[in-house]
């Protein structure tokens, strides 16, 4: 290696080819850079990617029956699902019911079964309690004697589905579908259909809020961009003050303003525009949700728009006008296209925040102003049906990603500017 022939690789002082030593130095730099971002990367993995993956998984996970009635679950999986299973399955279930009831795990099975078969929670817990009290080993006869539903194929076909380790039933429920007795996928009865309409409503309301935000924010941002610094700073504070104020305070002030006995209605009655019995319902409905959400999300539109407009030199407009364009033409052909990245950034911020918004619709949405996130929260906190909550969340996530993809195709994500 000491001897170098003409035309051979260039060597550094230590005699290593320059290319290799350069690559080494670069690798070291890369490793150092990676080391610096590693904490953040780990943070994102642990707090963002992992919980989301877990949530999506919970939407199909179906462990209850296999975990708490393991033998019966295995026998059910082997069963062909026609009519009623063999006597041995009944006996095994009776045995495991008694055992699970003693260990206080049967309630979980009961809850899971009740999601699929309304009214079966007490069937399971009661059967468990009765079987537990028996002096002898529980048998098929004991189980069937407790309730006639144990002799019906419907109950067993649901149980067979629950014995599988994974299930589609949460995702089906999230799009208003269900399994019938034969295991075919059918629509929910009409009185229980709710989620598809809610998804569409959430989508439509978020689009409406985004559009309203663009309309309202554009003039403000423009004014802030062209006014002298002193005045525009004042405007900026006016935009930021609500931004810094607690969300709950702002939402409650809307209640004070808009309720039927509120400030706005009082003024309308006082000026005689409406009669005292003709007070307008402006809150606890969709109007309330839209008004309060537009107000709360407006700064997310103003700020990116402003930062983009600030960089547009006023000389472009002057040049366009001096070339003979009318103010409107100059605006549409010269100014507006330059602000599109700001509109894009603001819109995507506002839209994504709006589609997952929860607290404001909960407070001012009343009956008709509820969005899908309110139902996800409901299933997380009230009904404890975390599987359904996960499925609804998974669909929402997929929807947002799909919209993001469409947006990228139409507008281009590079064509977006936050400042």
């Amino acid at each position: 290696m000491a001897q170098v022939e003409a035309g051979g690789p260039m060597l550094d002082a230590a005699g290593v080819p320059l290319k290799v030593s350069l690559a080494r130095a670069e690798r070291r730099n890369r490793m150092r850079a990676l080391g610096l971002v590693l904490p953040l990367l780990a943070f994102i993995l642990i707090t963002f990617v992992y919980p989301i993956a877990l949530m999506v998984f919970r939407g199909v996970d179906n462990p209850t029956v296999s975990e708490f009635l393991p033998e019966t679950a295995e026998m059910l999986r082997a069963w062909d699902g026609e009519g009623l299973p063999e006597d041995a399955v009944f006996a095994s279930m009776a045995r495991e019911f008694a055992k699970a009831s003693k260990e206080r795990t049967l309630g979980k099975v009961a809850t899971r079964l009740n999601y699929e078969l309304s009214g079966s929670r007490s069937l399971v817990t009661k059967s468990g309690r009765n079987l537990r009290r028996l002096k002898t080993e529980p048998t098929k006869a004991d189980l069937v004697a407790l309730d006639k539903r144990w002799n019906q194929p419907e109950t067993w076909s649901v149980l067979k589905r629950l014995a599988e380790p994974y299930t589609l039933s949460y995702y089906l429920a999230a799009i208003d579908k269900t399994y019938n007795v034969d295991g075919a996928i059918v629509d929910q009865p009409e009185s229980r259909q709710i989620y598809v309409a809610l998804f569409l409503r959430t989508l439509w309301v978020s689009l409406l809020i985004t559009a309203l935000c663009v309309l309202l924010a554009y003039p403000i941002a423009y004014l802030m961009a062209i006014l002298p610094t002193k005045t525009s700073n004042l405007l900026m504070i006016l935009v930021l003050l609500p931004f810094w104020t607690s969300l709950l305070v702002r939402t409650s002030s809307w209640i004070v303003l808009l309720q039927t006995e509120g400030v706005l209605n009082d003024i309308l009655v006082w000026t005689g525009i409406i009669g005292d019995d003709g007070r307008i319902q402006m809150i606890y409905n969709m109007t309330g949700t839209v008004v309060a959400m537009v107000h709360i999300l407006l700064p997310f539109m103003v700020l990116p728009l402003f930062s983009v407009m600030k960089t547009i030199s006023p000389t472009y407009m002057r040049a366009a006008k001096s070339l003979g364009a009318t103010p409107a033409r100059a605006f549409w052909t010269v100014y507006f296209p330059q602000t599109v990245p700001g509109i894009g950034a603001g819109s995507i911020l506002v839209f994504i925040l709006a589609i997952g918004y929860y607290i404001t619709p909960a407070l001012v949405g009343g009956r008709t102003g509820q969005l899908i996130s309110n139902f996800i929260a409901y299933h997380m906190q009230q009904s404890l049906n975390w599987g359904l909550a996960a499925a609804l969340g998974g669909i929402l996530l997929a929807g947002v990603l799909a919209l993001y993809w469409i947006y990228n195709r139409l507008v281009g994500i590079d064509n977006m500017k936050l400042g």
């Binding site: 309630g107 979980k108 009961a110 079966s120 039927t260 006995e261 009230q382 404890l384």
Partner: protein, 359 residues
């Protein structure tokens, strides 16, 4: 740079060591008792917590929640139980026990009544369950703003659904519970048959059809503190509410509301202990203390919920007695919330109720 890192690291270690040392020590001294907030939590703090701290020196942290088992379940499943004692409704006490997220409580530890009656006989029937100890009887009733109805006043459950005779917005809880029962009562179903009828698909249809008649006149509430506020604001003229909250608004805040006891749906509140809660001994000691005859009677000074011990009734002040859900004249047309019916049907009826609301 290196030195700075070292110091920061040392500081972090020292801080976390301090936090670790302080954590268990604080937990050993204090109990975290969780309840529904507002006037109700205040009554518990005055009647149970303060006297207990005065007697034993054990500090009690009072936390608020909005009911349900979600937080208990999350704590138990995560293996990090920070609550010692939770105030829940009967349906949740039974369901939580079945699901194994609550500790069984041995009722023989509860103190006997002053006259020697054993606790098991002193407590009202069904107020002691495997994992819980009852404290109060509360009730969902409806009330109206008397200033809105100077002539004829609403008197019975059917008036709640009669917007022609009694115009004005209604405030109802955003939950099928109680509303469906009331709808059937107003539709002429006798009290004792309400749950039987509601157990059939036709009965559910009938209840929803009755609710349909006032759907456009209802403003829905979720937290117990809301309906008195909505009545006070004039947002609604008639509202369903928990009787203790109304008592508080009428007698403490002097609001012109009147309670209608016809068709009241009563329920229990009970103490439960999340599975794996720390400091069991002190927690059980507090349970014993707070459910003795005197303490349950004391609570009625602060809120008009009925004590679950028979020996507490005579100790309740005379001016509060007529406002108890269990007072004889209020109890004439009273229905007990059927926790088993709701345990079975809540999943389906909640969905149907939500679908009905959204339409």
């Amino acid at each position: 740079m290196n030195r700075m890192m070292k110091y920061t690291g040392a500081a972090v270690v020292a801080l976390s060591a301090a936090a670790y040392a302080a954590g268990p020590a604080a937990a050993a001294d204090a109990l975290t008792v969780v309840s529904w907030g507002g006037a109700y939590t205040k009554s518990q703090v005055e009647a149970y917590h303060k006297p207990y701290t005065a007697k034993t020196g054990t500090k009690i942290n009072s936390e608020d929640y909005n009911g349900g088992l979600a937080q208990v379940r999350a704590q138990v499943e995560a293996g990090n139980v920070t609550w010692n004692l939770v105030d829940v409704e009967l349906s949740d006490a039974v369901r939580g026990c079945d699901e194994g997220i609550l500790e069984p409580i041995d009722h023989s530890i509860l103190p006997a009544a002053p006259d020697g009656t054993a606790a098991a006989d002193d407590f009202l029937p069904n107020t002691l369950t495997e994992c819980s100890v009852g404290t109060i009887v509360w009730s969902t009733v409806f009330a109206f703003d008397a200033s809105k109805y100077p002539d004829a006043k609403p008197t019975e459950i059917a008036d709640l659904f009669d917007t022609e005779k009694f115009p004005g917005k209604r405030g109802l809880r955003k939950n099928p519970k109680v509303n469906l029962e009331w709808a059937l009562m107003a539709d002429g179903v006798p009290l004792e048959q309400v749950y039987e009828v509601l157990g059939t698909p036709e009965g559910v249809d009938r209840a929803f059809a009755k609710l349909d008649t006032i759907k456009d006149d209802v403003i829905w509430w979720e937290a117990g503190a809301q309906p008195p506020q909505m009545l006070a604001d004039g947002e609604v003229s008639i509202a369903s509410a928990y009787n203790g909250r109304l008592f508080n608004a009428i007698f403490t805040e002097k609001k012109p509301f009147e309670i209608i006891w016809d068709g009241q749906v009563w329920d229990l509140d009970l103490w439960v202990i999340p599975k794996g809660a720390k400091n069991m001994e002190a927690t059980l000691d507090f349970v014993k203390f707070s459910t003795d005859t005197q303490r349950l009677a004391d609570q009625s000074k602060w809120i008009s919920y009925g004590p679950v011990r028979q020996s507490s009734f005579p100790l309740v002040a005379d001016d509060v007695k007529p406002h108890m859900p269990t007072a004889p004249e209020n109890f004439k047309a009273a229905l007990q919330n059927d926790f088993e019916f709701w345990a079975d049907n809540a999943d389906e009826l909640n969905e149907r109720f939500a679908a009905w609301l959204a339409k």
